[in-house]
């Protein structure tokens, strides 16, 4: 079930009514949300609900085992339980997500060595959201092991933490330490929070349906349809496609996160912010503090700091950053493009650390033009990496890089088309033009992204203060607007594949 579907709106409404009807009956309420979450997940593939259940059961008992071992002062016992949790979760991830990738790698290696090897492949569809919920449960056992929290002895609550539908399939990656305490207190139905949740959902829908899907259908998917279509683009077209894709990816994923956060909020739960206007960042570290925050902080806390962080000197800090971000790349998918993408970011982050050492005071002067240059540089470093992220393989990325240097076809021009002006690209590529409506979406997308945060806060405050009936009117208009303006069909969220 997709967030951007009617089914989801009906589903959320039903859960909302039942949840608040049973607000004084904890076990009924939690059981209902648990069943609803499994049903939600089962819509993608019923068989894979068993993996979710296995992960839940294993980590519940692992959490209890670690907690009791720590109480006894039995470090080895705690480590054994933690190892079981790690093996189980990473094993599941390894089998379902990476097995075929490594088998392919071995096959290629054997072929290079002159051996004709055809190895066995698992050949199964990737369980939706496995990267998210395994990392979520891992954070639970690791936090107990580190003494940051106590294990839950309520299985129902823990199962609900793992499977809570708003964040189940594409995050944000919620930490038990943030979520579990919310299950303890009886929820309070506050109109302002419900209104705020609806605002978040609306915001997410706008990002997904009116921004990401429009840019995807009209620009990105056409350009990246295959290697041939990408190879026909000139540099100006490819640069515009890159800007469009950066915004599409942001709109898609941040839109999902907004809907997830909003859905949780109308049920009285708070999930942490997952995106914070990432394209406003003026350096790469700032970007990663704003983009997919729950994932980058997960890798920061459990991998980078786990490896020693910056405690063991500059060079080791650079190494740790590189390794952590290479793993971030691998987390996104079993493909060399993702690995290289992670390495690219890791290398930049390491380089930034090194440069910082030679700067007076460890940072650039706080002048407007330095900030502007930093912003432009960061944006282009990130946007370029997204081309790698979007390419189906390294050879397609090679084509993209080679096309970036081709300015021979000349600059695009504005010409009149059947439905108004369009930016026409010279040459015979698959992407010959971008209509003004799509350019406007792109322009508005970046403009709203870069506008001051307080404008949005003010808009949300106004919305919350609006009477419910008037909100209903806006919601009805929004539903109609989404119908009219989004491209036909229902496109899934990009991050579902991770």
């Amino acid at each position: 079930m997709l967030f951007n579907s009617f089914s989801y709106l009906l589903f959320l409404w039903t859960v909302y009514v039942l949840f608040w009807t049973w607000r004084d009956r904890r076990s009924w309420r939690h059981s209902m949300v648990l069943v609803a979450s499994y049903w939600f997940y089962g819509q993608a593939h019923w068989g894979y609900t068993s993996l979710l259940a296995i992960s839940t059961v294993v980590d519940y008992f692992a959490g209890l085992g670690i907690d009791r071992a720590r109480e006894r002062g039995d470090k080895r016992g705690a480590r054994r339980w933690l190892a079981m949790s790690l093996t189980s979760n990473l094993g599941m991830l390894g089998v379902f997500k990476y097995f075929d990738f490594f088998v392919d790698g071995f096959e290629a290696l054997f072929t290079r060595m002159g051996m004709d090897a055809e190895l066995w492949h698992l050949d199964v569809a990737l369980p939706v959201g496995i990267s998210f919920y395994t990392f979520q449960t891992l954070s639970y056992t690791i936090d107990i092991y580190k003494g940051r929290m106590r294990a839950s002895n309520r299985f129902l609550d823990f199962a609900l933490f793992v499977s809570f539908f708003p964040q189940l399939v594409a995050g944000p990656i919620v930490r038990a330490v943030d979520f579990m305490p919310q299950l303890e207190n009886p929820p309070k139905l506050e109109p302002s929070r419900v209104s705020s949740g609806l605002f978040q959902i609306l915001r997410g829908m706008v990002k997904k349906l009116l921004m990401a899907d429009v840019l995807g259908a009209h620009v990105v998917d056409v350009a990246f349809a295959d290697g041939q279509s990408l190879g026909q683009l000139g540099a100006p077209a490819l640069i515009l496609v890159t800007y469009a894709y950066a915004l599409q990816l942001y709109g898609d994923f941040a839109g999902y996160s907004d809907i997830a956060i909003g859905s949780a909020r109308v049920l009285g739960f708070e999930l942490k912010k997952n995106f914070d206007a990432p394209f406003k960042a003026i350096n790469l570290e700032g970007f990663w503090a704003r983009w997919h925050i729950s994932m980058s902080s997960w890798f920061g806390d459990y991998v980078y700091i786990g490896m020693g962080g910056s405690r063991a000197g500059l060079l080791k800090a650079c190494r740790n950053a590189f390794v952590a971000w290479t793993l971030v790349g691998l987390w996104h998918g079993a493909a060399w493009t993702y690995v290289l993408w992670g390495m690219y970011h890791g290398a930049w982050l390491a380089l930034v650390r090194l440069i910082r050492q030679v700067l007076p005071g460890g940072k650039l002067p706080d002048r407007w033009f330095v900030r502007l240059l930093g912003w432009a540089f960061t944006f282009h470093v990130v946007a370029f990496s997204m081309v790698l992220f979007r390419c189906q393989d390294l050879s397609q990325f090679g084509v993209a890089v080679s096309r970036l240097g081709d300015w021979s076809a000349g600059l695009p021009s504005l010409e009149s088309g059947p439905r108004g002006l369009a930016l026409m690209f010279p040459g015979a590529g698959a992407l010959r033009s971008i209509p003004w409506q799509v350019l406007l979406v792109m322009l508005l997308g970046y403009a709203t992204h870069l506008m001051p945060e307080r404008w949005l806060t003010r808009t949300e405050a106004r919305w919350v203060a609006t009477p419910a009936a008037l909100q209903g009117l806006v919601l009805a208009a929004a539903i109609l607007l989404f119908f009219a303006l989004r491209p036909p069909g229902l496109s899934p969220f990009v991050y579902f594949q991770f």
Binding site: A225, G472, L480, G489
Partner: protein, 408 residues
Amino acid sequence: MKPVNSPQQLIGARTLVVLLCLVGTELTLKHVGGFGWWTVNEQSERYGWRMLPSQDARGRDLTVVESINSEGFRDREWEAPQRGPDGAWQKDETLFRVAVLGNSMSFGTSVPIEGVYSRQLERLLQVELDSRGDDRRALVMNFAVQGYVFEQMARVYDDIAARWRPDLLVVPFHPHDIMPMRPSADDADYDFRTWVLRSATYDMLERHVIDRWLPPVPPKAAESVRSLGPTPDELPLRFRDWAALDLSITEQPFKRDNRRWWRLAGERMQGLLEQVEQDGGRLAIMALPRWRRHFRPKVMDADSFWAGWAWERRPRVLRVSPWPLFEQGMAPVLADLRATGMELGTTHDLTTLTWTDSAGRTHRGDELASAEQSLHLLGDMGHFTAHGHSALARALMDAVTDAELLGP
């Protein structure tokens, strides 16, 4: 802010307003705005689009009912085709079955179903069968879908109509039907799709926002080639070329540049002929009369191509040319039209006939005294009146009789 005690307090106002707005908009648009009455299509990867099955829609002027059966065609409900012991589709020997392909002209836009030529032909055939003492029942199945070109019609035969093993397949042909099939913009299956497509709200949005203001979604490179029709390798068309090609084929279907589309249509028709014969039937090609030909004798209809094609394959193909009947039937109307002093030579199939009298008042074609006798709809000359359909049915009946399909 104070917590709310009852969930109804919260759900009430917002949900109620959303529902009232959506339902109110829908009802207002339907009953006041006149939206949501037309026949609704859904996107289809195979056919480009198809009519949603089981709908009771209205024609363009909202007066003619267009009931779409459960198979998605404007006809009565059909009995399911039967398979024989070997699993192959079986011919029903108790019927003389005719399948009619086509687009809006055969669909019968603005004509009540009993006036459409498929029904009129059915009645003529039944009378003929009865007069011969033949126990068989005549059944004409109308597989026409508005907007289809030949490739789409042929696919309908291949996938759907062939299951009934018709005794006769009628392919009505307008020169524009050589146009290659347009790629489907989308074939996504999303929840409540049929509800959405049928709603007046969507109809309004589609007509006034989507089709008017929004750019069509470009197909991905691979799709644009795949969906083009008969022989994708020969058709290096890109999406933006469609409008130019459409205009060229509409205005000058027989010009040199467009010959290859006729060649491709000929090849496709050959395949269809072989399939129909294998299914135990006969093929009839009917050249649909064109409005412009009444005023410009040089204008050619599809018969210019298919007559020779059918001649080369005689007697396997029935050539049906209703033009003489149209020429004769339209004579009084044309005389009236000429009397108005209108520049008829410049009128187009898709324009509306209007002229201004000496007092400066504007008149429409359907105000003519002889309008009732017209074979073309005078407000939409690309389509036929019930009289026009009657002429088409008679021309087909004559061809059936001449070919002795009902026996000597």
